[in-house]
């Protein structure tokens, strides 16, 4: 062989070799150098081992990434705002209820993944992307597709996940009806938290969520010309219904639930004022929180386990190991849980990381 094994022994030679390596890797190899044989190798590796992504993949990723970024921004902001509201002692909310509500808002819709089978199949170029993004519940398919998935989720009883799935889909859209829908669905999500203290109430709420989502899926954008007013009123009404105790099928629910949007809603959507029949339920504006205190200890306990971490989103820890795809739990961990592991040192690793 050309290079004796003790080649590296000399400092001076190493330096020369280092320079040659830099030139080689820069694509300007030294003629007749010790490593000039490797020039074509470097070339072939770079041209053939670094496949340019297909345009379709690029577009797909760009869409997904953009919505991931926006999703990370808006719910985070909303969550902070909501948390601030919920955490204020004068509202009399237990921390648990606050965290349950937060969890619902932050849930990344993992449960939707199993069914969010997008068009790409294993082996397709897009499959990897679809899978990765669907694993955290974003970017899969059009808004319509998402709404359909949300309806299916709701029909299976996963109301919270269904709402979150739909909200995430709708957030990508602009337009009055999308905004109205997001507002209504957010109200619905909050109401849902407050109405789950008995199985009957949960079932009733679940049915109402399905009704609401079906309405949204079928009617969104239908009257865009009229500022979506009719649609907005429709969704707002259906969302308010979720907070009402009575069974949508007619049976009387024993539990009196606070009216949605009465205490914590930051969504004074069209027609959001309390109506007479709601007042009968004992829910008056500003009063709903007292009622909901007891609800914090309801069946949502599992969710609250996931919560404390939601502030760690930006912690930049980065040592965790489980990729999001590996946590398919139905009570989707809040984004706060898998985010920290995802953020390896954000401070320019090229600069300050030398030991």
């Amino acid at each position: 062989m050309r290079f004796p094994d003790d080649y590296m022994g000399e400092m001076g030679t190493s330096k020369t070799l280092d320079q040659e390596i830099e030139l080689l890797l820069a694509g300007t190899p030294i003629e007749g150098g010790r490593l000039s044989d490797l020039a074509p190798v470097v070339g072939v590796i770079r041209t053939q081992w670094t496949p340019a992504p297909p345009e379709a993949d690029i577009a797909h990723f760009a869409r997904s990434a953009a919505s991931a970024v926006k999703m990370n921004q808006s719910p985070a902001t909303a969550a902070t705002t909501l948390q601030r509201r919920l955490a204020v002692p004068r509202l009399g909310l237990t921390p648990r209820l606050a965290t349950v509500a937060l969890t619902i808002l932050l849930m990344s819709g993992t449960a939707g993944m199993a069914m969010a089978a997008d068009s790409a199949a294993p082996g397709d170029a897009l499959y990897g992307l679809d899978r990765a993004f669907e694993a955290v519940g974003i970017g899969s398919g059009s808004t319509e597709e998402r709404l359909d998935e949300a309806v299916a989720l709701a029909a299976q009883g996963h109301s919270g996940e269904a709402l979150e799935h739909a909200i995430q889909g709708l957030r990508r859209d602009t337009g009055d009806s999308s905004e109205a829908a997001v507002t209504a669905l957010t109200t619905a999500a909050q109401s849902l938290v407050e109405t789950q203290d008995t199985a009957d109430a949960a079932t009733a709420a679940s049915i109402r969520v399905t009704v609401l989502l079906t309405y949204v899926a079928e009617n969104i954008g239908i009257d865009e010309g009229t500022d979506g007013r009719e649609f907005g009123q429709g969704v707002a009404q259906l969302a308010r219904d979720i907070g009402e105790g009575d069974d949508p099928t007619g049976a009387q629910d024993p539990v009196v639930a606070p009216a949605p949007g009465s205490g914590q809603s930051n969504n004074p959507g069209p027609g959001a004022g309390n109506e007479a029949d709601e007042a009968d339920d004992g829910a008056v504006p500003g009063n709903g929180n007292e009622n909901s205190q007891n609800n914090g200890n309801s069946q949502n306990n599992g969710n609250s386990q996931n919560n404390g971490n939601s502030q760690n989103d930006e912690s930049g820890d980065g040592q965790g190991s489980d990729p999001p795809v590996e946590s398919p739990s139905v009570t989707a961990p809040g984004r706060g849980n898998d985010a920290p592991e995802d953020s390896p040192s954000a401070t320019a690793p090229g600069k300050g990381n030398k030991p």
Binding site: L25, V41, F61, A66, A68, V69, P323
Partner: protein, 192 residues
């Protein structure tokens, strides 16, 4: 920093800043450019380093980048390092998950890149399989370094930061690695 790819970076520093800002705002065009620029090298790196599903891992890597972009602050070089830090961690995680040594590379056969005459002749004999086999005779750390430097096209400093090594250690690893690669490939008589 005079690196192999500062030729790309310099005139585009401002572009990168604009692009980063747009990416943080969720602009699709910015993400398309980021993906177009880096996805190929990331996939190549992951495949070379034995990822079972390099495309999937690439997707996960870029997804993570999108989700954490708000935490990133720095220039283009730092960004490239950051991308590969994430890719590298993903790789290690997936290996750990599979609890075994990296599998053999499953790259598609060379499709005949844009190379000519003597080189072309050499490369005809130099199949992907042979190349990968030569790579696999190297030590893990040499592979890491060479994959990042050749495929990832990172600079010395960037490579060091991704791997958490000192620049001197990277230099030593690439010296040994490249010399060994040259020997293993036995290019004598091909390019001479």
């Amino acid at each position: 920093m005079s690196s192999p790819h500062t030729s790309i970076a310099n005139p585009r520093d401002q572009d990168f800043e604009t692009r980063l800002r747009a990416a943080k705002d969720g602009a699709e065009w910015a993400w398309a450019e980021i993906y177009r620029d880096l996805a190929g090298t990331v996939t190549g790196y992951l495949a070379n380093r034995g990822a079972a599903e390099p495309e999937d891992l690439t997707s996960e890597t870029f997804l993570q980048i999108a989700r954490n972009i708000s935490t990133f602050d720095g220039g283009e070089s730092a960004f490239r390092s950051w991308v590969f830090v994430i890719a590298h961690r993903r790789l290690i995680d997936s290996r750990r998950a599979r609890q075994r040594r990296p599998e053999t590379l499953t790259l598609s056969d060379p499709m005949g890149g844009a190379v000519g005459d003597v080189e072309e002749e050499a490369l005809n004999r130099l199949t992907t399989v042979e190349l990968q086999a030569a790579f696999e005779k190297l030590s893990e750390s040499q592979c890491d370094v060479l994959a990042l430097r050749i495929i990832g096209q990172l600079t010395l400093e960037e490579t060091a930061s991704v791997l958490g090594k000192r620049v001197g250690a990277v230099k030593a690893a690439q010296r040994r690695g490249l010399l060994a690669l040259s020997q293993h490939l036995d290019l004598d008589g091909v390019t001479r």
